[in-house]
């Protein structure tokens, strides 16, 4: 079946997720090349392009990390083909080294770098505002306000990139990526899939003498970009009142609704900034001159507010300009319609009564429902083995980014320090050097390839003393089961891929003590971990078992549920140490929900009474 985003029907309307709309925009732009490292909230863009690449000439790859992804796409674009590189906001930190100097080199074919920011941190470790990457690198940035506009912006971003000879940053936030709206399809451009590279070392080889010249060109490009931003249809004004509002991204939709709800359309003048770097000074100054006071509505940092205030100063204007302020907007989290409506009413002095919320003070304390590792998740089994093996010793558990991070909650409590992708290994080096505690670091398979390998090389070279547990479940589980270099792609019926063995890599790095365990074999795993913990130096455990959810989706799970028989003596080790979500209590008796249990048999092996048994088939 043809992928729905390949539909060739200009004018046709479809309900699309923001990320699908962006993928469709790429198809309409004739994108020929795409690379990514998966990360929420950007993952579905890549997933759709991956599927599309199987049906078209599009080249798509899951690269090992965002830096590699950007290098790959940057070269493709400099060979003249349209390339797109997709990542979450923190991924840009990883790719930043390439980004900064790529801005000097520029591109031949269009290159659009998508950064998906995550205000409120629905699925991220921070809520950094990546508009500052545009400012830092000098690259142009576009920001859509709706799902429909996100699709429209992609082809325009490619045109802009080719016009300026620079990569363009397309910045979304979770509320664009994961909103759904009605999108109307445009014309699909036929991609140009082959390129060529002409040697030109004095423009491509960034030695100091060349870079000094290229930086001059970047600044000239920024001037040209600012002129384009001032004339861009993505920066538009609505209304002709004297109450000014400057906004971007999703905030624009809240502002538009607030203008309606407060019925102040005849008094307001709204400047929506969609081409947000370089900030168009002439446009802002003209706007300010027409206003008595201005409110800047932007999630995250006061990126526009600072620019607007600087432009006001240059133009000798003294009108009030406010934004981030304890009575108005915070730098924290997301905005919502009522918050923006309330702030606008206060700032402009419009009568307004906020929505009535029920008095919830008499509600009992509600049990929390944090996300949890699936029933039968192999990580839970590995954590159990490490916990038992380390019993009695003082431990520090640096961990990393993935499903397994969820093991930080009780009853597992198996993560003490999590910063960013790959950091568990480096952190283990530091902790083991300055403390007397036993350090055991955890990292997923995909994360190990992403940025854990360099940490392990460091550990071996500097002769550190800790145990690294690599949780190898043959997929990138957290973001929706994308492949990684250790995966056997023929499992997914895909040929033409190589495969990198984690064990071979670890041995080649020279880790002096390497063991592979099957975590569902509880006793053997505990023994192997114990040995690794006793080893002085770098010991590595590779815990190999497929992600249960993934195995289930591939129909590879031979599940036979277990039950708790009447031999149970209420020892509750199963509940208190393992905490599989298939367990529940009925009248103080531990039970297993047969619909949730996948039959991993881990609980059965740790029950001292052998009371947990498989249900008869």
């Amino acid at each position: 079946m043809t992928h729905k985003l390949l539909t060739d029907g200009p004018g046709e309307k479809m309900m699309l997720l923001g990320n699908e709309a962006i993928a469709r925009g790429a198809v309409e732009a004739g994108v020929a090349f795409a690379s990514t490292y998966p990360g929420t909230p950007s993952s579905e863009i890549s997933l759709n392009l991956f599927q599309i690449s199987k049906q078209t000439d599009l080249y798509f790859e899951y690269s090992t990390n965002e830096k590699v992804a950007l290098e790959v796409s940057a070269a493709a674009a400099n060979a003249g083909v349209r390339a797109m590189c997709i990542m979450k906001h923190v991924g840009v930190n990883v790719a930043a080294d390439v980004l900064m100097t790529l801005a000097y080199i520029g591109v031949k074919g269009g290159l659009v770098i998508l950064t998906a920011d995550d205000p409120f941190m629905f699925s991220s470790q921070n809520e950094q505002d990546n508009r500052y990457y545009a400012k830092l690198s000098g690259l142009p940035m576009l920001e859509p306000s709706s799902v429909a506009e996100a699709k429209e912006m992609v082809p325009r971003a490619f045109d802009l990139s080719e016009k300026l000879g620079e990569p363009v940053l397309l910045r979304t936030t979770t509320r664009i990526n994961h909103s759904t709206g009605i999108v109307s399809f445009g014309q699909v451009q036929t991609p140009q899939t082959r390129g060529d590279f002409t040697k030109d070392p004095f423009n491509y080889v960034c030695v100091p003498a060349v870079s000094r010249k290229l930086h001059v060109r970047l600044l000239e490009n920024m001037d040209r970009a600012e002129e384009l931003a001032a004339a861009s249809e993505f920066n538009f004004v609505e209304g002709d009142g004297t109450w000014g509002v400057i906004c971007n991204g999703v905030s624009y939709s809240y502002v538009a609704d607030a203008v309606q709800d407060l019925d102040i359309g005849d008094r307001t003048r709204v400047l929506r900034i969609g081409f947000s770097h370089p900030v168009p000074g002439s446009l802002i100054k003209d706007f300010l001159k027409a206003c008595d006071k201005v409110l800047v509505v932007e999630e995250g940092e006061p990126y526009m507010e600072e620019a607007v205030k600087a432009f006001a100063q240059e133009a000798g204007l003294t009108l009030p300009v406010r934004g981030k302020d304890k009575d108005l907007f915070s730098r924290l989290y997301e905005f919502d319609p009522a918050l923006v409506r309330g702030a606008m009413a206060r700032f402009f002095g419009v009568p307004y009564s906020p929505p009535v919320t029920p008095d919830l003070s008499d509600l009992p304390e509600l049990p929390q429902r944090p996300p949890n590792l699936c029933a039968g998740c192999s990580h839970r089994a590995t954590y159990y083995a490490v916990k038992k093996a380390a019993e009695g010793s003082d431990t520090i558990y640096p961990s990393d980014i993935g499903c397994y991070t969820l093991g930080f909650l009780p009853p597992l409590s198996m993560a003490d320090f999590v910063v960013c992708m790959g950091a568990s290994v480096g952190a283990a080096c530091g902790f083991s050097k300055v403390t007397d505690k036993k350090v055991v670091a955890f990292i997923g398979d995909s994360t190990f390839f992403h940025s854990g390998m360099a940490g392990l090389v460091n550990a071996v070279f500097n002769n550190h003393n800790f145990t690294l547990v690599i949780l190898d479940n043959s997929t990138t589980a957290m973001t929706g089961h994308q492949p990684h270099p250790g995966v056997d792609m023929t499992d997914m019926n895909m040929d033409g891929y190589g495969r990198v063995s984690i064990e071979a890599v670890v041995r080649a790095i020279g880790a002096p003590h390497v063991t592979v365990i099957k975590p569902f074999k509880v006793k053997k795993s505990i023994e192997a971990v114990r040995e690794a913990l006793e080893f002085k130096g770098v010991s590595v455990i590779i815990s190999r078992e497929a992600c249960t959810l993934y195995a289930k989706s591939l129909n590879r799970l031979n599940s036979r549920a277990f039950y708790v028989s009447d031999k149970c003596r209420h020892d509750r080790g199963c509940l208190d140490d393992l905490g599989c979500p298939a367990f529940y209590l009925r009248n103080e008796q531990v039970m297993i929900d047969p619909d949730l249990c996948v039959g991993c048999a881990v609980c059965a092996q740790l029950c001292p009474e052998n009371a947990i048994l498989p249900l008869k088939a």
Partner: protein
């Protein structure tokens, strides 16, 4: 049903209960009926058994999310989560909830207590305009699969007439856009939910 009027629907569920499909069916029905619609939902980490929320805004609005106190209708796929989402309601809000509980891990482990179902209903009734509450899991089983809880609740919310969608338009989407082998079960679930809400009102 005035199509320009704004109607705001919140669906709360536990990851894995099929709320994404429910909102897609509703959104597609709106598209097919020419009703402006926008939605947003949370993907990613929350889907590992955490709380998931979809916001669906019909009619004349740009926003895709719904602020506290601004839902016209709240549909909860799980009673505790319906109660937890009461901050989205106001005294005029209509609430529909499944009464079949899913225990959070802390309750299963005996570390915290799940509030009584009667108490949950009393609290919701006291703070909102109206509550329609029933065991949607039982109806889903009756329809042929416990996985069709989502369609039972879609049936119930359509019956109330709060959403600017007809039953026929939604059923047409179930017929054409849900997985073929589940169409019959899904339609049966929709009907059971629809009649149940009818009987409760």
């Amino acid at each position: 049903m005035n199509q320009n009027q704004t109607t705001r629907l919140i669906i709360v569920a536990v990851g894995g209960q099929g709320n994404l499909l429910a909102s897609r069916v509703i959104g597609e029905a709106a598209l097919a009926s020419n009703v402006p619609v926008r939605m947003s939902e949370i993907h990613g980490m929350a889907q590992r058994g955490g709380v998931v929320e979809s916001a669906i805004v019909f009619g004349n609005a740009e926003s895709t999310i719904i602020s506290d106190g601004e839902a016209d209708i709240l549909v909860g796929f799980e009673p505790l989560e319906t109660l937890r989402a009461l901050n989205k309601c106001n005294p005029q809000t209509l609430v529909i909830t499944n009464l079949s509980p899913l225990s959070p891990a802390t309750v299963s482990a005996g570390k915290s207590v799940y509030p009584g179902l009667k108490e949950i209903q009393r609290l919701i009734r006291e703070k909102t305009a109206k509550l329609i509450a029933f065991d949607a899991a039982a109806l889903a089983k009756e329809a042929g699969s416990v996985l069709s809880v989502n369609m039972v609740l879609v049936g119930a919310m359509i019956q109330t007439g709060v959403l600017p969608l007809t039953a026929e338009s939604v059923k047409e989407i179930i017929r054409t856009k849900t997985k073929e082998r589940f169409v019959d079960v899904n339609l049966a679930a929709f009907e059971l939910g629809f009649s149940k809400a009818d009987a409760s009102s």
